[in-house]
């Protein structure tokens, strides 16, 4: 098997109009950046990768994760994590509750694992907090922790830095990219911000497959 995320001849059409054309491989620890204006098919590609593509679209080609074909799998069986533009921390749960939701079922020592993860991210003692009382940067870190605790094999980034203020932005961005490299996760970043693309250090392509 080939470790990493492979998009083999992925084509997405809407009513016969081609939207996405991508054939590429993202190695573990590498970040592939998809750049393009809104409406160019970036979110459509993310929906296809995560398994929530609207039936109005047709998808051809195969999506392989560590050699496993996930193209037809439901979202929850793909083991692909996602970070959205908004952190979307579940507002009815505490910080620890959000993390516990992500932790796979049946793992022993859940509370200790959560506390350790928080401490590692510089958020020791934040477990009982209301997510709404956190700063933007803290929320972004909790969202990343939540994604990682589910033990994904790949990670998608849907403009996750665009809502952060300028000084936090660079800091959070390097934290996310470092974590992805440290965990050797293949990642796909969707953005329209050239700085994000540069910081990701990987290939940059448009949804129709052209390189920048």
């Amino acid at each position: 098997m080939t470790p990493g995320l492979s998009l083999q001849g992925v084509q997405i059409d809407r009513a016969g109009t081609p939207l996405v054309r991508i054939d590429t491989h993202v190695a573990p620890g590498e970040v592939l950046t998809i750049m393009g204006p809104s409406g160019s098919g970036k979110s459509t590609l993310l929906a296809a990768l995560i398994g929530t593509l609207d039936p109005a679209f047709t998808l051809r080609g195969r999506i392989l994760l560590d050699g496993r074909d996930v193209t037809a799998l439901p979202t929850r069986d793909r083991r692909i994590g996602i970070l959205f533009q908004d952190t979307l921390l579940f507002p009815h749960l505490s910080v620890a509750g959000n993390l516990a939701f992500a932790l796979p079922r049946g793992l022993p020592g859940r509370a200790a694992r959560i506390e350790a993860a928080l401490a590692e991210a510089g958020l020791a003692g934040f477990g009982r907090r209301d997510p709404e009382t956190l700063s933007g940067g803290e929320r972004a870190r909790v969202a990343l922790l939540r994604t990682l605790l589910a033990e994904p094999k790949a990670i998608l980034l849907d403009e996750p830095f665009s809502r952060l203020d300028a000084d936090r932005r660079a800091q959070i961005r390097s934290f996310v990219f470092q974590t992805i490299r440290a965990r050797s996760l293949p990642a796909v970043l969707v953005t329209h911000d050239a700085e994000d693309a540069t910081a990701a250090e990987g290939n940059v392509i448009s949804p129709d497959g052209r390189s920048f």
Binding site: P55, R76, R79, L89, P91, H92, A102, E132, R146, T147
Partner: protein, 550 residues
């Protein structure tokens, strides 16, 4: 399990459409018997009863819609509007019967208004012998219907408000020099009315055929057609069955004719509005009088309902209260104490039906919406019409037949009554819950699935808790609707299950104001209590979750 869930929306629609259709057939069937129609035509009160149904229905619906639209056009964004909304929203949960009884206490010759003016202005030292209440022209019935329907239409309009980008349309029209009223009528009313059409049809059909409002506020000799038909239907002898069926058929024809007339008026109004808009009429002079009318209408509805309900409460604890004293000479709990032994079981029946039907309706509504979510179903226009069907088809034209069918199937009593309540409760619960459910950010579900959660876990651990407030509100709406059911309870239980509503209505002809006050007050207190719990529960549970604040 998955296949069952997939079938729920269709089954739920059938659950509402089938009883209505079968009930209609069984109710109207006997009208074809020989002699039925001639017996109806031989009733001397028929022409007046038909006229009353048409005039009270059309007049009250027109007035209620006009007041609602004037309030929205001229008062939105003002403090008066906020105050009005705070007062009117809770009044929506007041059952029709309680509202009607309250108004009756207010406007009766011995009511609060007469007392306030006596003897200094009127010279009355005794209650005058005037037919203000139950007036032959149906004016008090019309006013009662207006008061009850304005809160409903206003809240339905506000629910549609976010979908039509009203603020930017209004601002745009006003920058082009249009007056507030004209801006509303030309740019907001057309899309708003499209969303309001079904609620308006339901209001019109209800106003033409309401039995309990007609009994309490309407004329007696003859009463509006629906009241007379209900009388024939509930007569012990079967002699009037054909007459009753023919009357119900006539009532259905009347409602359909009135709906057709209304539809014609809609088309005419749209052409008129388009003509005025393209002629560039700015009409700024309309704003001041329109605002005045809106304030007067809104204030009259609110004050009438609140004063009426306060009157009910006061009568229930009144000791001696002579005319024209504005307040009773003493207060006592004697009426409550005397009523207590019968109140218990009757309240139990009311609670059982309301908790049962609202609970079932909530489960079905959740299942429908979850099926819509999981299978990416799109709500269709015919489905929406089916949902409104039980609210538009007059109750008197399908409930009697439904009762007979239930008896033939061997399902009588509580179960049949509960099922009947469900037919009316479910549409309201669904309509209350669906907007919030569909507005929940779909990325929460995607996120939960990407973290490995099953659809069930995503529902139970994430989406239902996030929707706790609208879920409980929808339950409270259903509860209030069930508590208010008069005809469904009376007919489907064969008169054997007494609820607060059936008791309050049957007491209304008697004139024991203290006892009426007790029943009506409790009838309105139960829904109010459930609404309060629906607000308080999430507020307490999520007191440390700022993201869950309303």
């Amino acid at each position: 399990m998955t296949r069952l869930l997939r079938a729920v929306p269709g089954l739920t629609l059938a659950l509402m459409a089938v009883p209505v259709a079968a009930g209609l057939a069984a109710t109207l069937g006997p009208a074809l018997a020989p002699g039925a129609l001639s017996a109806l035509l031989a009733w001397p009160g028929l022409p007046r009863a038909v006229m009353l149904s048409l005039t009270t229905g059309l007049a009250s619906t027109t007035l209620a819609l006009a007041i609602t639209l004037l309030i929205l056009a001229t008062l939105r964004g003002t403090r008066a509007f906020a105050a009005l909304l705070r007062l009117l929203s809770p009044l929506l949960s007041v059952p029709h019967a309680a509202a009607a009884l309250g108004l009756a206490f207010l406007i009766a010759p011995s009511g609060w208004i007469a007392r306030a003016l006596s003897p200094w202005a009127t010279g009355w030292s005794q209650a005058p012998d005037l037919l203000i209440l139950n007036d032959p022209a149906g004016l008090s019935l019309t006013l009662g219907l207006v008061a009850k329907e304005v809160p409903f239409l206003l809240l339905m309009a506000l629910a549609a408000w976010p979908q039509i980008a009203a603020p930017s349309r209004l601002t745009l029209a006003q920058t082009l020099g249009y007056g507030q009223t004209a801006a509303f009528a030309f740019t907001v009313l057309p899309p708003l009315y499209r969303q309001l059409r079904l609620p308006v049809y339901a209001v019109l059909a209800y106003a033409m055929t309401s039995v309990e409002m007609g009994m309490i506020l309407g004329p007696n000799l003859p009463p509006p057609l629906s009241v007379q038909v209900a009388g024939w239907m509930t007569e012990a002898s079967l002699a009037q069955r054909g007459t009753a069926a023919a009357g119900a058929a006539l009532q259905l024809v009347l409602v359909l004719a009135a709906l057709a007339l209304w539809r014609g008026a809609e088309i005419a109004a749209r052409h008129g509005l388009t003509g005025m808009a393209t002629a560039g009429l700015r009409l700024p002079g309309l704003d001041a009088p329109a605002r005045l009318l809106a304030l007067a209408g809104g204030a009259a509805v609110t004050a009438g309902l609140i004063a009426g309900l306060a009157g009910l409460a006061l009568w229930s604890v009144a000791g001696l209260w002579r005319f024209p004293a504005a307040l009773p000479e003493s207060l006592s709990l004697a009426t409550w104490a005397r009523a207590a032994p019968t109140l218990g079981p009757i309240t139990g029946n009311t609670l059982g039906l309301a908790l049962g039907s609202a609970g079932l309706a909530l489960i079905l509504a959740i299942a429908c919406l979850e099926a819509e979510h999981r299978f990416r179903l799109r709500p269709s226009a015919p489905a929406l019409w089916l949902l409104w069907l039980p609210l538009i088809v007059p109750q008197i034209t399908f409930l009697p037949g439904l009762h007979r069918l239930a008896l033939e199937l061997g399902a009588g009593g509580f179960a049949a009554t509960l099922a009947g309540h469900l037919v009316f409760v479910l549409p309201y619960v669904f309509l209350s819950l669906a907007p919030a459910w569909r507005a929940l950010d779909p990325r929460f579900a995607t996120l939960a699935a990407s973290l490995g959660a099953s659809p069930g876990r995503s529902l139970w651990a994430i989406r239902l808790p996030l929707l706790l407030r609208p879920l409980l509100t929808a339950f409270a709406v259903g509860f209030a609707v069930s508590v208010g059911q008069y005809l469904a309870t009376l007919l489907l239980s064969g008169g054997r299950i007494a609820t607060l509503t059936t008791e309050a209505v049957s007491l209304s002809s008697g004139g024991n104001r203290r006892l009426i006050g007790v029943y009506a007050l409790l009838q309105m207190a139960l829904p109010a209590l459930v609404f309060a719990l629906a607000l308080l529960g999430p507020a307490l549970l999520y007191r440390n979750r700022r993201g869950m604040a309303a």
